[in-house]
Symmetry: C2
Subunit: 260 residues, 2 copies
Protein backbone atom coordinates (compact mmCIF):
# COMPACT_ATOMS: atom_id res chain seq x y z
CA UNK A 1 0.00 0.00 0.00
CA UNK A 2 1.58 3.27 -1.06
CA UNK A 3 -0.97 5.81 0.15
CA UNK A 4 0.80 8.25 2.43
CA UNK A 5 -0.74 11.24 4.20
CA UNK A 6 1.43 13.56 6.27
CA UNK A 7 3.97 10.78 6.59
CA UNK A 8 1.26 8.42 7.87
CA UNK A 9 0.22 5.39 5.85
CA UNK A 10 -3.47 5.17 4.96
CA UNK A 11 -4.48 1.50 4.92
CA UNK A 12 -8.25 1.88 4.78
CA UNK A 13 -10.93 4.46 3.98
CA UNK A 14 -14.31 5.27 5.50
CA UNK A 15 -16.71 7.07 3.19
CA UNK A 16 -19.83 9.00 4.06
CA UNK A 17 -22.61 8.32 1.55
CA UNK A 18 -24.98 11.24 0.98
CA UNK A 19 -23.07 14.33 -0.12
CA UNK A 20 -19.92 12.37 -1.01
CA UNK A 21 -21.16 9.70 -3.45
CA UNK A 22 -24.55 11.14 -4.32
CA UNK A 23 -27.07 13.89 -3.68
CA UNK A 24 -30.68 12.69 -3.56
CA UNK A 25 -30.98 10.81 -6.89
CA UNK A 26 -27.84 12.04 -8.66
CA UNK A 27 -24.23 10.91 -8.36
CA UNK A 28 -21.60 13.48 -7.41
CA UNK A 29 -19.65 14.08 -10.65
CA UNK A 30 -16.44 12.05 -10.73
CA UNK A 31 -17.31 10.04 -7.63
CA UNK A 32 -17.99 6.68 -9.36
CA UNK A 33 -14.62 6.81 -11.13
CA UNK A 34 -12.83 7.89 -7.95
CA UNK A 35 -14.39 5.01 -6.05
CA UNK A 36 -13.31 2.57 -8.78
CA UNK A 37 -9.72 3.84 -8.47
CA UNK A 38 -9.82 3.37 -4.68
CA UNK A 39 -10.99 -0.22 -5.16
CA UNK A 40 -8.32 -0.71 -7.82
CA UNK A 41 -5.68 0.32 -5.29
CA UNK A 42 -6.84 -2.51 -3.03
CA UNK A 43 -7.73 -0.29 -0.08
CA UNK A 44 -10.39 -1.80 2.21
CA UNK A 45 -13.45 0.44 2.40
CA UNK A 46 -16.42 0.94 4.67
CA UNK A 47 -19.37 3.16 3.86
CA UNK A 48 -20.60 4.99 6.95
CA UNK A 49 -24.09 6.41 7.16
CA UNK A 50 -26.18 7.56 10.10
CA UNK A 51 -29.36 6.88 8.12
CA UNK A 52 -31.65 4.87 10.39
CA UNK A 53 -34.95 5.39 8.58
CA UNK A 54 -34.26 2.56 6.13
CA UNK A 55 -32.79 -0.94 6.45
CA UNK A 56 -29.36 -1.70 4.99
CA UNK A 57 -30.80 -3.64 2.04
CA UNK A 58 -32.75 -0.60 0.92
CA UNK A 59 -29.72 1.68 1.25
CA UNK A 60 -27.71 -0.73 -0.92
CA UNK A 61 -30.54 -0.89 -3.49
CA UNK A 62 -30.60 2.89 -3.70
CA UNK A 63 -26.82 2.93 -4.22
CA UNK A 64 -27.07 0.18 -6.87
CA UNK A 65 -29.66 2.27 -8.69
CA UNK A 66 -27.06 5.02 -8.89
CA UNK A 67 -24.43 2.59 -10.19
CA UNK A 68 -22.61 1.98 -6.90
CA UNK A 69 -22.20 -1.69 -5.99
CA UNK A 70 -21.53 -1.90 -2.26
CA UNK A 71 -20.99 -5.25 -0.55
CA UNK A 72 -23.19 -6.01 2.47
CA UNK A 73 -20.06 -6.20 4.63
CA UNK A 74 -18.92 -2.80 3.39
CA UNK A 75 -21.97 -0.88 4.58
CA UNK A 76 -21.41 0.11 8.19
CA UNK A 77 -24.51 1.65 9.76
CA UNK A 78 -25.66 2.33 13.33
CA UNK A 79 -28.04 -0.66 13.30
CA UNK A 80 -25.10 -2.88 12.41
CA UNK A 81 -23.00 -1.32 15.18
CA UNK A 82 -25.80 -1.76 17.71
CA UNK A 83 -26.42 -5.36 16.66
CA UNK A 84 -22.73 -6.17 17.08
CA UNK A 85 -22.64 -4.45 20.45
CA UNK A 86 -25.75 -6.31 21.71
CA UNK A 87 -24.28 -9.64 20.57
CA UNK A 88 -20.88 -8.92 22.11
CA UNK A 89 -22.54 -7.96 25.40
CA UNK A 90 -25.05 -10.82 25.28
CA UNK A 91 -27.97 -8.45 25.80
CA UNK A 92 -31.53 -8.09 24.48
CA UNK A 93 -33.29 -4.88 23.53
CA UNK A 94 -36.57 -3.07 23.26
CA UNK A 95 -36.97 -0.88 20.17
CA UNK A 96 -38.01 2.68 19.44
CA UNK A 97 -37.11 2.66 15.75
CA UNK A 98 -38.89 3.09 12.45
CA UNK A 99 -41.07 0.00 11.89
CA UNK A 100 -39.26 -0.82 8.65
CA UNK A 101 -35.99 -1.07 10.66
CA UNK A 102 -37.27 -3.65 13.13
CA UNK A 103 -36.10 -6.56 10.97
CA UNK A 104 -32.48 -5.44 11.47
CA UNK A 105 -32.72 -6.58 15.11
CA UNK A 106 -34.24 -10.03 14.56
CA UNK A 107 -33.41 -12.42 17.37
CA UNK A 108 -32.25 -9.65 19.68
CA UNK A 109 -35.61 -8.16 20.70
CA UNK A 110 -37.19 -8.89 24.06
CA UNK A 111 -40.10 -6.95 25.64
CA UNK A 112 -38.18 -7.10 28.94
CA UNK A 113 -34.75 -6.36 27.42
CA UNK A 114 -32.46 -4.16 29.49
CA UNK A 115 -31.42 -2.01 26.52
CA UNK A 116 -33.61 0.52 24.76
CA UNK A 117 -32.47 1.13 21.17
CA UNK A 118 -33.56 4.42 19.62
CA UNK A 119 -33.38 5.18 15.91
CA UNK A 120 -34.79 7.93 13.71
CA UNK A 121 -38.39 6.80 13.98
CA UNK A 122 -39.59 9.82 11.99
CA UNK A 123 -43.40 10.09 11.97
CA UNK A 124 -43.63 7.06 14.27
CA UNK A 125 -42.19 9.13 17.14
CA UNK A 126 -45.59 9.36 18.82
CA UNK A 127 -46.28 10.38 22.41
CA UNK A 128 -47.35 6.84 23.19
CA UNK A 129 -44.19 5.23 21.84
CA UNK A 130 -41.95 7.83 23.49
CA UNK A 131 -43.76 7.26 26.77
CA UNK A 132 -43.34 3.48 26.53
CA UNK A 133 -39.62 4.04 25.87
CA UNK A 134 -39.39 6.44 28.83
CA UNK A 135 -40.98 3.84 31.10
CA UNK A 136 -38.44 1.23 29.91
CA UNK A 137 -35.65 3.65 30.95
CA UNK A 138 -37.30 4.23 34.33
CA UNK A 139 -37.43 0.42 34.68
CA UNK A 140 -33.63 0.43 34.38
CA UNK A 141 -33.03 -0.15 30.65
CA UNK A 142 -29.87 1.38 29.18
CA UNK A 143 -30.38 4.00 26.46
CA UNK A 144 -28.54 3.29 23.19
CA UNK A 145 -29.08 5.78 20.37
CA UNK A 146 -28.16 5.38 16.72
CA UNK A 147 -27.01 8.99 16.38
CA UNK A 148 -27.72 12.39 17.87
CA UNK A 149 -28.03 14.59 14.79
CA UNK A 150 -30.18 17.65 15.31
CA UNK A 151 -31.90 17.92 11.92
CA UNK A 152 -31.53 17.24 8.22
CA UNK A 153 -32.62 18.94 5.03
CA UNK A 154 -35.71 17.75 3.16
CA UNK A 155 -37.09 19.15 -0.09
CA UNK A 156 -39.63 21.28 1.82
CA UNK A 157 -37.33 22.43 4.65
CA UNK A 158 -35.36 21.29 7.67
CA UNK A 159 -36.71 18.33 9.64
CA UNK A 160 -36.11 16.91 13.10
CA UNK A 161 -33.56 14.11 13.17
CA UNK A 162 -33.05 11.55 15.95
CA UNK A 163 -31.09 13.80 18.34
CA UNK A 164 -33.96 15.89 19.74
CA UNK A 165 -35.85 12.72 20.70
CA UNK A 166 -32.78 11.21 22.34
CA UNK A 167 -32.35 14.42 24.34
CA UNK A 168 -36.02 14.31 25.34
CA UNK A 169 -35.57 10.79 26.73
CA UNK A 170 -32.29 11.72 28.45
CA UNK A 171 -33.89 14.71 30.17
CA UNK A 172 -36.99 12.77 31.20
CA UNK A 173 -35.09 9.78 32.59
CA UNK A 174 -31.99 11.52 33.92
CA UNK A 175 -29.86 8.97 32.02
CA UNK A 176 -27.27 9.56 29.34
CA UNK A 177 -27.40 7.78 25.98
CA UNK A 178 -24.65 5.63 24.54
CA UNK A 179 -24.41 6.92 20.97
CA UNK A 180 -23.58 4.34 18.30
CA UNK A 181 -23.51 6.55 15.21
CA UNK A 182 -21.39 9.42 13.93
CA UNK A 183 -19.78 11.45 15.49
CA UNK A 184 -19.33 9.12 18.49
CA UNK A 185 -15.77 7.78 18.74
CA UNK A 186 -17.07 4.32 19.60
CA UNK A 187 -18.87 4.13 16.26
CA UNK A 188 -15.76 5.07 14.24
CA UNK A 189 -13.73 2.55 16.25
CA UNK A 190 -16.16 -0.27 15.49
CA UNK A 191 -15.94 0.51 11.76
CA UNK A 192 -12.13 0.67 11.89
CA UNK A 193 -11.92 -2.61 13.83
CA UNK A 194 -14.24 -4.17 11.26
CA UNK A 195 -11.43 -3.63 8.70
CA UNK A 196 -8.82 -5.03 11.11
CA UNK A 197 -7.01 -1.69 11.22
CA UNK A 198 -6.00 0.89 13.83
CA UNK A 199 -7.70 4.33 13.90
CA UNK A 200 -4.64 6.27 12.71
CA UNK A 201 -4.33 4.05 9.64
CA UNK A 202 -7.80 5.02 8.39
CA UNK A 203 -9.03 8.10 6.51
CA UNK A 204 -12.63 9.26 6.94
CA UNK A 205 -14.05 11.23 3.99
CA UNK A 206 -17.19 13.29 4.53
CA UNK A 207 -19.11 16.48 3.72
CA UNK A 208 -20.21 17.19 7.31
CA UNK A 209 -17.43 19.09 9.07
CA UNK A 210 -18.79 18.24 12.50
CA UNK A 211 -20.14 14.72 12.31
CA UNK A 212 -17.71 13.27 9.75
CA UNK A 213 -14.49 15.24 10.03
CA UNK A 214 -14.21 16.56 13.59
CA UNK A 215 -15.81 13.34 14.86
CA UNK A 216 -13.22 11.20 13.07
CA UNK A 217 -10.30 13.36 14.24
CA UNK A 218 -11.59 13.17 17.81
CA UNK A 219 -11.62 9.38 17.47
CA UNK A 220 -7.97 9.38 16.35
CA UNK A 221 -8.60 8.81 12.62
CA UNK A 222 -7.33 10.88 9.73
CA UNK A 223 -10.03 12.88 7.96
CA UNK A 224 -10.86 14.75 4.77
CA UNK A 225 -13.63 17.30 4.20
CA UNK A 226 -15.10 17.48 0.70
CA UNK A 227 -16.74 20.61 -0.69
CA UNK A 228 -19.84 18.77 -1.94
CA UNK A 229 -23.17 17.91 -0.28
CA UNK A 230 -23.92 19.82 2.90
CA UNK A 231 -20.53 21.59 2.86
CA UNK A 232 -20.90 25.36 3.28
CA UNK A 233 -18.15 27.93 2.60
CA UNK A 234 -16.36 28.62 5.85
CA UNK A 235 -16.65 25.05 7.16
CA UNK A 236 -12.90 24.58 6.64
CA UNK A 237 -12.23 27.35 9.15
CA UNK A 238 -13.36 24.94 11.85
CA UNK A 239 -10.51 22.67 10.80
CA UNK A 240 -7.75 25.25 11.28
CA UNK A 241 -4.94 23.73 13.33
CA UNK A 242 -6.08 20.16 12.69
CA UNK A 243 -4.38 17.71 10.31
CA UNK A 244 -7.59 17.36 8.24
CA UNK A 245 -7.47 17.62 4.46
CA UNK A 246 -9.90 19.78 2.57
CA UNK A 247 -10.57 18.82 -1.05
CA UNK A 248 -13.07 19.82 -3.71
CA UNK A 249 -14.63 16.39 -3.96
CA UNK A 250 -14.01 12.66 -3.62
CA UNK A 251 -12.05 12.64 -6.89
CA UNK A 252 -9.60 15.18 -5.48
CA UNK A 253 -9.23 13.18 -2.26
CA UNK A 254 -8.45 10.02 -4.24
CA UNK A 255 -5.98 11.89 -6.46
CA UNK A 256 -4.04 12.95 -3.41
CA UNK A 257 -4.39 9.61 -1.66
CA UNK A 258 -3.00 7.65 -4.59
CA UNK A 259 -0.31 10.05 -5.79
CA UNK A 260 3.20 8.77 -5.38
Amino acid sequence: MRAILGGMKIRGVLLDLSGVLYLADRVVPGAPEALARLRGAGLPLRFLSNMTRYPAARVREHLAGLGYRIGAEELFTPPRAVRGWLQAEGRRCRLLVHPRLEGEFEGLVDPAGDVLVVGDAAETFTYERLNTAFRALMDGAELVAMGDNRYFREPDGLSLDIGPFVHALEYASGRQARILGKPAAGFFHLAVADMGLAPDEVLMVGDDVESDVLGALEAGLQAALVRTGKYRPGDEQRLAGTPAWVADDLAAVVDRLLED
Copy 2:
Protein backbone atom coordinates in the same frame (compact mmCIF):
# COMPACT_ATOMS: atom_id res chain seq x y z
CA MET B 1 -52.31 41.39 58.87
CA ARG B 2 -50.71 39.55 61.74
CA ALA B 3 -49.14 36.58 59.99
CA ILE B 4 -45.44 36.56 60.84
CA LEU B 5 -42.84 34.05 59.66
CA GLY B 6 -39.26 34.28 60.91
CA GLY B 7 -39.87 37.93 61.69
CA MET B 8 -41.18 38.53 58.16
CA LYS B 9 -44.78 39.51 57.51
CA ILE B 10 -46.74 37.25 55.15
CA ARG B 11 -49.22 39.34 53.19
CA GLY B 12 -50.27 36.82 50.56
CA VAL B 13 -50.21 33.08 49.87
CA LEU B 14 -49.62 31.03 46.72
CA LEU B 15 -51.04 27.51 46.84
CA ASP B 16 -50.20 24.57 44.65
CA LEU B 17 -53.34 22.59 43.75
CA SER B 18 -52.77 18.87 43.28
CA GLY B 19 -51.21 17.31 46.37
CA VAL B 20 -52.06 20.30 48.58
CA LEU B 21 -55.84 20.74 48.13
CA TYR B 22 -56.69 17.39 46.57
CA LEU B 23 -55.37 14.11 45.23
CA ALA B 24 -57.09 12.91 42.06
CA ASP B 25 -60.78 12.99 43.09
CA ARG B 26 -60.42 13.34 46.86
CA VAL B 27 -59.75 16.38 49.01
CA VAL B 28 -56.73 16.34 51.31
CA PRO B 29 -58.23 15.95 54.81
CA GLY B 30 -58.50 19.29 56.60
CA ALA B 31 -57.59 21.31 53.50
CA PRO B 32 -61.08 22.81 52.85
CA GLU B 33 -61.30 24.08 56.45
CA ALA B 34 -57.72 25.41 56.33
CA LEU B 35 -58.47 27.26 53.12
CA ALA B 36 -61.61 28.77 54.65
CA ARG B 37 -59.55 30.02 57.61
CA LEU B 38 -57.01 31.61 55.24
CA ARG B 39 -59.82 33.39 53.43
CA GLY B 40 -61.29 34.43 56.77
CA ALA B 41 -57.98 36.08 57.66
CA GLY B 42 -58.30 38.25 54.56
CA LEU B 43 -55.05 37.10 52.97
CA PRO B 44 -55.01 37.42 49.16
CA LEU B 45 -54.51 34.05 47.50
CA ARG B 46 -53.41 32.70 44.15
CA PHE B 47 -53.63 29.07 43.13
CA LEU B 48 -50.61 28.05 41.09
CA SER B 49 -50.69 25.03 38.83
CA ASN B 50 -48.43 23.98 35.96
CA MET B 51 -51.27 21.93 34.48
CA THR B 52 -51.46 22.85 30.80
CA ARG B 53 -53.51 19.92 29.52
CA TYR B 54 -56.81 21.58 30.48
CA PRO B 55 -58.17 25.12 30.22
CA ALA B 56 -58.68 27.20 33.36
CA ALA B 57 -62.46 26.80 33.29
CA ARG B 58 -62.12 23.03 33.48
CA VAL B 59 -59.62 23.24 36.35
CA ARG B 60 -62.04 25.45 38.27
CA GLU B 61 -64.93 23.06 37.54
CA HIS B 62 -62.88 20.16 38.90
CA LEU B 63 -62.12 22.16 42.03
CA ALA B 64 -65.78 23.15 42.43
CA GLY B 65 -66.72 19.48 42.21
CA LEU B 66 -64.47 18.90 45.22
CA GLY B 67 -66.07 21.79 47.10
CA TYR B 68 -63.39 24.41 46.40
CA ARG B 69 -64.72 27.64 44.96
CA ILE B 70 -61.84 29.46 43.28
CA GLY B 71 -62.36 32.84 41.58
CA ALA B 72 -61.21 33.13 37.97
CA GLU B 73 -58.74 35.84 39.03
CA GLU B 74 -57.33 33.57 41.75
CA LEU B 75 -56.24 30.77 39.43
CA PHE B 76 -52.78 31.60 38.13
CA THR B 77 -51.65 29.18 35.43
CA PRO B 78 -48.92 29.22 32.78
CA PRO B 79 -51.43 30.03 29.97
CA ARG B 80 -52.49 33.09 31.94
CA ALA B 81 -48.86 34.10 32.48
CA VAL B 82 -48.08 33.63 28.79
CA ARG B 83 -51.16 35.56 27.72
CA GLY B 84 -50.20 38.45 29.97
CA TRP B 85 -46.63 38.37 28.70
CA LEU B 86 -47.72 38.37 25.03
CA GLN B 87 -50.08 41.28 25.65
CA ALA B 88 -47.46 43.27 27.57
CA GLU B 89 -44.94 42.69 24.78
CA GLY B 90 -47.47 43.28 22.00
CA ARG B 91 -46.59 40.00 20.32
CA ARG B 92 -48.45 37.21 18.51
CA CYS B 93 -47.83 33.50 18.82
CA ARG B 94 -47.97 30.13 17.12
CA LEU B 95 -49.13 27.27 19.32
CA LEU B 96 -47.90 23.80 20.15
CA VAL B 97 -50.41 23.09 22.91
CA HIS B 98 -53.16 20.62 23.59
CA PRO B 99 -56.07 21.44 21.23
CA ARG B 100 -58.42 21.99 24.17
CA LEU B 101 -56.07 24.77 25.39
CA GLU B 102 -56.12 26.75 22.16
CA GLY B 103 -59.10 28.85 23.27
CA GLU B 104 -56.97 30.32 26.08
CA PHE B 105 -54.96 32.24 23.45
CA GLU B 106 -57.84 33.70 21.48
CA GLY B 107 -56.91 36.90 19.68
CA LEU B 108 -53.19 36.32 20.18
CA VAL B 109 -52.58 33.60 17.59
CA ASP B 110 -50.97 34.34 14.24
CA PRO B 111 -49.53 31.74 11.82
CA ALA B 112 -46.56 34.08 11.33
CA GLY B 113 -46.23 35.04 15.01
CA ASP B 114 -42.68 35.46 16.29
CA VAL B 115 -43.33 33.50 19.49
CA LEU B 116 -43.83 29.74 19.70
CA VAL B 117 -45.82 28.77 22.80
CA VAL B 118 -45.39 25.17 23.97
CA GLY B 119 -47.67 23.47 26.48
CA ASP B 120 -48.14 19.89 27.59
CA ALA B 121 -49.70 18.69 24.35
CA ALA B 122 -49.77 15.08 25.59
CA GLU B 123 -50.80 12.65 22.85
CA THR B 124 -50.92 15.53 20.35
CA PHE B 125 -47.12 15.81 20.50
CA THR B 126 -46.76 14.21 17.06
CA TYR B 127 -43.67 14.26 14.85
CA GLU B 128 -45.49 16.51 12.41
CA ARG B 129 -46.49 19.09 15.01
CA LEU B 130 -43.05 19.04 16.63
CA ASN B 131 -41.47 19.52 13.21
CA THR B 132 -43.74 22.45 12.39
CA ALA B 133 -42.77 23.99 15.75
CA PHE B 134 -39.08 23.36 15.04
CA ARG B 135 -39.38 25.11 11.68
CA ALA B 136 -41.01 28.13 13.38
CA LEU B 137 -37.98 28.34 15.69
CA MET B 138 -35.59 28.08 12.74
CA ASP B 139 -37.61 30.93 11.16
CA GLY B 140 -36.67 33.03 14.18
CA ALA B 141 -39.62 32.57 16.56
CA GLU B 142 -38.86 32.79 20.28
CA LEU B 143 -39.53 29.65 22.34
CA VAL B 144 -41.83 30.15 25.33
CA ALA B 145 -42.65 27.05 27.37
CA MET B 146 -45.36 26.64 29.99
CA GLY B 147 -43.13 24.55 32.27
CA ASP B 148 -40.25 22.14 32.04
CA ASN B 149 -41.37 19.29 34.30
CA ARG B 150 -39.83 15.95 33.42
CA TYR B 151 -42.74 13.61 34.16
CA PHE B 152 -45.79 13.08 36.31
CA ARG B 153 -47.52 10.10 37.88
CA GLU B 154 -50.57 8.54 36.22
CA PRO B 155 -52.61 5.60 37.51
CA ASP B 156 -50.70 3.19 35.24
CA GLY B 157 -47.21 4.64 35.75
CA LEU B 158 -45.00 7.65 35.11
CA SER B 159 -45.67 9.71 31.98
CA LEU B 160 -43.73 12.27 29.99
CA ASP B 161 -44.53 15.87 30.90
CA ILE B 162 -43.80 18.99 28.84
CA GLY B 163 -40.08 19.28 29.71
CA PRO B 164 -38.69 16.53 27.46
CA PHE B 165 -40.41 18.07 24.43
CA VAL B 166 -39.13 21.54 25.30
CA HIS B 167 -35.62 20.11 25.57
CA ALA B 168 -36.03 18.36 22.21
CA LEU B 169 -36.92 21.69 20.57
CA GLU B 170 -34.09 23.49 22.36
CA TYR B 171 -31.53 20.94 21.20
CA ALA B 172 -32.85 20.90 17.63
CA SER B 173 -32.98 24.69 17.26
CA GLY B 174 -30.00 25.70 19.40
CA ARG B 175 -32.27 28.15 21.24
CA GLN B 176 -33.16 28.33 24.90
CA ALA B 177 -36.76 28.44 26.11
CA ARG B 178 -38.25 31.15 28.26
CA ILE B 179 -40.12 29.14 30.91
CA LEU B 180 -43.38 30.62 32.19
CA GLY B 181 -44.37 28.00 34.74
CA LYS B 182 -43.03 26.69 38.03
CA PRO B 183 -40.16 26.64 39.03
CA ALA B 184 -39.13 29.64 36.88
CA ALA B 185 -38.64 32.79 38.97
CA GLY B 186 -40.43 34.88 36.33
CA PHE B 187 -43.59 32.85 36.81
CA PHE B 188 -43.62 33.29 40.61
CA HIS B 189 -42.96 37.01 40.16
CA LEU B 190 -45.91 37.41 37.80
CA ALA B 191 -48.20 35.70 40.34
CA VAL B 192 -46.86 37.85 43.20
CA ALA B 193 -47.24 41.04 41.14
CA ASP B 194 -50.80 39.97 40.34
CA MET B 195 -51.53 40.35 44.09
CA GLY B 196 -49.75 43.71 44.21
CA LEU B 197 -47.15 42.35 46.64
CA ALA B 198 -43.37 41.91 46.78
CA PRO B 199 -41.83 38.40 46.62
CA ASP B 200 -40.64 38.35 50.24
CA GLU B 201 -44.16 39.14 51.46
CA VAL B 202 -45.59 35.99 49.91
CA LEU B 203 -45.59 32.36 51.08
CA MET B 204 -45.69 29.54 48.50
CA VAL B 205 -47.19 26.27 49.77
CA GLY B 206 -46.53 23.09 47.81
CA ASP B 207 -45.87 19.35 47.89
CA ASP B 208 -43.07 19.40 45.27
CA VAL B 209 -39.80 20.20 47.00
CA GLU B 210 -38.15 21.19 43.74
CA SER B 211 -40.75 22.93 41.65
CA ASP B 212 -42.79 24.55 44.44
CA VAL B 213 -40.44 25.08 47.37
CA LEU B 214 -36.91 25.47 46.01
CA GLY B 215 -38.32 27.34 43.00
CA ALA B 216 -40.14 29.83 45.25
CA LEU B 217 -37.10 30.33 47.51
CA GLU B 218 -34.92 30.92 44.44
CA ALA B 219 -37.40 33.60 43.33
CA GLY B 220 -37.13 35.36 46.71
CA LEU B 221 -40.45 34.15 48.16
CA GLN B 222 -41.02 32.37 51.44
CA ALA B 223 -42.01 28.73 51.11
CA ALA B 224 -43.57 25.79 52.93
CA LEU B 225 -43.35 22.10 52.00
CA VAL B 226 -46.33 19.93 52.95
CA ARG B 227 -46.04 16.19 53.56
CA THR B 228 -49.01 15.32 51.32
CA GLY B 229 -49.27 14.57 47.59
CA LYS B 230 -45.99 13.79 45.86
CA TYR B 231 -43.96 14.44 49.04
CA ARG B 232 -41.55 11.59 49.77
CA PRO B 233 -39.72 11.06 53.11
CA GLY B 234 -36.33 12.70 52.83
CA ASP B 235 -37.52 15.61 50.67
CA GLU B 236 -37.03 17.96 53.62
CA GLN B 237 -33.32 17.15 53.64
CA ARG B 238 -33.03 19.18 50.45
CA LEU B 239 -34.30 22.18 52.42
CA ALA B 240 -31.59 22.05 55.11
CA GLY B 241 -30.05 25.49 55.52
CA THR B 242 -32.99 27.25 53.83
CA PRO B 243 -35.69 29.24 55.62
CA ALA B 244 -38.44 26.94 54.28
CA TRP B 245 -41.08 25.53 56.59
CA VAL B 246 -41.97 21.87 56.57
CA ALA B 247 -45.46 20.98 57.79
CA ASP B 248 -47.65 17.89 57.76
CA ASP B 249 -50.32 19.43 55.57
CA LEU B 250 -52.05 22.67 54.59
CA ALA B 251 -53.92 22.72 57.90
CA ALA B 252 -50.61 22.74 59.80
CA VAL B 253 -49.26 25.53 57.59
CA VAL B 254 -52.35 27.65 58.24
CA ASP B 255 -52.17 26.96 61.99
CA ARG B 256 -48.66 28.33 62.05
CA LEU B 257 -49.41 31.19 59.70
CA LEU B 258 -52.32 32.46 61.74
CA GLU B 259 -50.98 31.85 65.24
CA ASP B 260 -50.28 34.94 67.21
